[in-house]
């Protein structure tokens, strides 16, 4: 049985036309390479040493593991490839074994990556939880100061924001400070949070690492009862107490690495990486929100005000629409009705609810940032 082929010895680029012949009499069986014209023997390849390489359609490329890595016998055409394969059945077997080996590597690598991802999703929140106590509070406060400068800058586009009530000894500020002190009393937290009320058209409140907490004026205006105001503030103080800002920082710092690994783009600038990162990070932050809600509920129990105010106020300012439901996983807050259900499950009715602020104090807090006066009317243009 013989077939036409092209042969290179892998030492020089001198390609030649040859004939491949199977020598069944030899022991072991050998593939004999003959010159196409003179039929002189060029080389003998034992059948045990030859293997198939990947090649285009209707072509076989045969290599020899004992020869130079570039030694090739290339068989083209359907008739010649058929007779070569028929003569050397081990070729196809070995190629199948090779394919199987590749499959095993792929499965193993995938399993390894999957376990890394699972370990990451469940391990990092735990790890961040455990690591945060080791971060010195002074360091966290310093980070908070830096963040505060950035936040103030971005909130006011560099114009410097308007403090609603710069006097720390005003009735409103003292009432808030007393509330914060009551909340943190006996908790053993290294932080003493400071609440700043800032004028802003956005109804929101947030806490930075180290205890700086911001309460925006629109949210105060939206609150109908002191309990609502206190509930949201207690929630933000919960973030401070659990050091969630620091925890998120620790957890997020590694997410990009993981997403980059999966997508193969370590620069992480691609949109896909951004989406993936925010998906994973929000998992942490929704967990933190639930924890802060629980803190608010417990605080309400302890200080004796109604914890439902938190959700009442949230519902008023951030109604969940269809769109926010669709994007629930992309959002860093749980849906409001989920939070209400969780809070109601936590709250045992308070025996004798008493207002957390006196009427005078609540009025003072509400008056810290009165709604902005309507913009002045344009001056009439006087034509003289």
């Amino acid at each position: 049985m013989e077939f036409a082929a092209r042969y290179t010895d892998g030492l020089t680029a001198d390609v030649r036309d040859v004939l491949g012949v199977i020598d069944l009499a030899a022991d072991p069986v050998a593939l004999v390479i003959l010159d196409a014209q003179s039929r002189e023997v060029i080389d003998r390849w034992p059948a045990l040493d030859v293997y198939l390489l990947h090649s285009r359609m209707a072509e076989l490329r045969i290599a020899n593991r004992q020869k130079s890595p570039g030694a090739r016998l290339a068989v083209a055409g359907i008739a010649d490839t058929r007779s070569a394969l028929a003569a050397l059945p081990t070729l196809a077997q070995r190629q199948r074994a090779e394919g199987w080996g590749q499959f095993r590597i792929l499965v193993l690598a995938t399993a390894a990556l999957a376990s890394v991802i699972v370990a990451y999703l469940y391990g990092i929140p735990l790890l961040a939880d455990r690591l945060v106590p080791y971060v010195p509070p002074a360091w966290e406060s310093k980070i908070g100061d830096t963040a505060a400068a950035q936040v103030e800058n971005s909130m006011t586009k560099g114009k410097g924001y308007v403090l609603c009530d710069p006097d720390p000894n005003s009735v409103g500020n003292r009432a808030i400070a007393r509330f914060v002190a009551n909340v943190f009393d006996g908790l053993g937290s290294p932080f003493s949070p400071h609440v700043t009320v800032v004028r802003s058209p956005i109804a929101n409140a947030f806490a930075l690492p180290g205890g700086r907490t911001y309460y925006l004026s629109s949210l105060i205006q939206a609150a109908r009862t002191p309990d609502e105001f206190a509930g949201v503030l207690a929630h933000e103080l919960g973030h401070v107490y659990y050091r969630h800002g620091m925890e998120t920082l620790l957890a997020n710092s590694t997410t990009g690495l993981l997403v980059g690994f999966v997508l193969g783009d370590m620069t992480g600038i691609s949109a896909a990486a951004a989406v993936g990162t925010s998906l994973i990070d929000n998992r942490f932050s929704r967990r933190a929100e639930a924890q802060a809600d629980r803190f608010a509920a417990e605080t309400a129990q302890r200080l004796g005000f109604s914890p439902k105010g938190l959700v009442d106020l949230l519902e008023r300012v951030a109604r969940d629409d269809e769109f926010s439901r669709a994007l629930a996983l992309f959002s860093n807050h749980p849906l409001t009705d989920e939070r209400r259900a969780a809070l109601e499950a936590l709250a045992t009715p308070v025996a004798d609810p008493r207002p957390i602020f006196t009427a005078a104090e609540w009025q003072a807090i509400r008056d810290m940032c009165p709604p902005a006066p309507p913009p002045p009317l344009p001056k009439p243009v006087s034509v003289l």
């Binding site: 092209r6 020089t12 896909a272 996983l329």
Partner: protein
């Protein structure tokens, strides 16, 4: 063998692969990418290279790609080590003062830009050192760091001169790459210089500056736009002008690419064998047009499919009565399902465009190059001898990590 006869002989370059074969590889790879959490990309890249290499037949013998997926996978692991310090730096940076943050990000951006030069060079080295022709390996010598530095310094000049220095930059980098390329023990050479780039580059530069600048000035001066908030939305004529700008840009880009590649590659030689490349501008522009129509077709197809699926669900819901409709609506309100849908939609759209780009643009360019090329005096290469193996992995891995790898 008669010397004059062999000197006169010209070796043809053919490309024997078909689009549907490549499409098969791409679609299989894409299907396997999901269950392997993206790891199949290394196998996918290997299969694609095998396809391109094996179907490029130079003077009767195909190229052979000898790299393996495991090498790519390992290389990527090595590259991770490069990125850990950058990640630590980013983490520490995020906690500093804002001016420091800006400076730091700028610094890291520059480092990454520098590394991209290194990565592209090493990726070329990886591919060449795993390319065989007639049993002899190609290789890229030279110093990847030196190349990265060269590219980095040139790009600073590029910014400083608003891109006017590009012909010199391109010729300098082409020369460094080709003059360090080897086929076995024989070195490649390239004779082309900045003149090959100058005319096509400046003409393209000027033309696009005129059309885009002209269209902008015209739109502003005639107020053919509506302000939506702070965002100007062009009017009908401005849209036409914008489309015109895009067409001019695509045409000039096709002309620039084919022109410079023909000129430069036609000065490449290896010993006495020399390359000649003739590329048609129309053919490349045709590919651009095909790609645009492909994108539109895919968008239409995806839109129709989505409409059918949603319509089907709605029909099912209304057929099952009101209670069922409510349950399906509530199902759609669950975050998990929506995110799953979003991810599927994202993967389908991204995958469709990626596949389209591969099958139309990458395939088209490679085939154009192969079919436009010929090799004079190929018999002079018969005396080339093999050199020792090259088993470096890291460069390709870094290229994968930085997303700069081509083919």
């Amino acid at each position: 063998m008669n010397d004059t006869a062999s000197a006169a002989r010209v070796g043809r370059v053919e490309f024997t692969g078909s689009r549907h074969e490549l499409f098969g590889i791409v679609i299989r790879g894409y299907a396997l990418m999901l269950p392997t959490i993206g790891l199949y990309r290394f196998w996918q890249a290997t299969w694609k290279r095998r396809f391109y290499w094996q179907n490029t037949v130079i003077d009767g013998d195909p190229l052979e790609y000898t790299g393996t997926p495991t090498q790519l996978l390992l290389g990527f692991f090595f590259a991770l080590a490069f990125f850990l310090p950058i990640y630590v730096a980013l983490f520490v940076l995020a906690m500093q003062e804002s001016t420091l943050v800006v400076l730091g990000y700028l610094g890291i951006g520059l480092i990454v830009w520098f590394l991209m030069g290194y990565a592209t060079y090493r990726a070329r080295d990886f591919r060449l050192s795993r390319t065989l022709w007639r049993g002899i390996r190609f290789d890229l010598r030279g110093n990847a760091w030196a190349y990265a530095l060269r590219r980095f310094l040139w790009s600073i000049l590029m910014v400083a001169t608003l891109g006017l220095v590009y012909p010199w930059m391109a010729s300098s980098l082409w020369k460094y790459r080709w003059r360090n390329t080897w086929f076995g023990d024989r070195k490649f050479d390239i004779a082309g210089n900045w003149r090959a780039f100058a005319a096509p580059y400046y003409a393209t530069y000027l033309l696009n500056l005129l059309t885009i600048g002209g269209a902008l000035i015209w739109a502003v001066s005639t107020h053919d736009f509506v302000l939506v908030g702070a965002l100007p939305v062009p009017g009908a004529l401005s849209w036409l002008a914008a489309i015109g700008c895009v067409v001019v840009f695509a045409l000039s880009l096709a002309w620039y690419r084919t022109r410079t590649a023909s000129r430069m590659l036609s000065t490449v030689s290896c010993g006495e064998a020399a390359l000649t490349v003739r590329l048609g501008t129309g053919a490349l522009f045709g590919q651009f047009v095909a790609y645009v129509f492909g994108v539109l077709g895919v968008l239409l197809l995806l839109g129709l499919t989505a409409a059918l699926v949603l319509g089907g669900i709605y029909a099912m819901a209304s057929a099952g009565g009101k209670a069922d409709a409510a349950s399906i609506v509530s199902m759609f309100q669950s975050g998990t399902l929506n995110v799953a849908l979003l991810i599927v939609a994202y993967l389908v759209v991204l995958g469709a465009f990626g596949m389209l780009a591969e099958v139309v643009l990458s395939f088209g360019w490679w085939r154009l190059l192969a079919r436009g090329a010929s090799l004079s005096n190929p018999d002079s290469l018969r005396s080339v001898r093999a050199t020792a193996e090259d088993r470096a992995l890291i460069g390709q891995g870094l290229a994968d990590a930085l997303n700069v790898g081509a083919y």
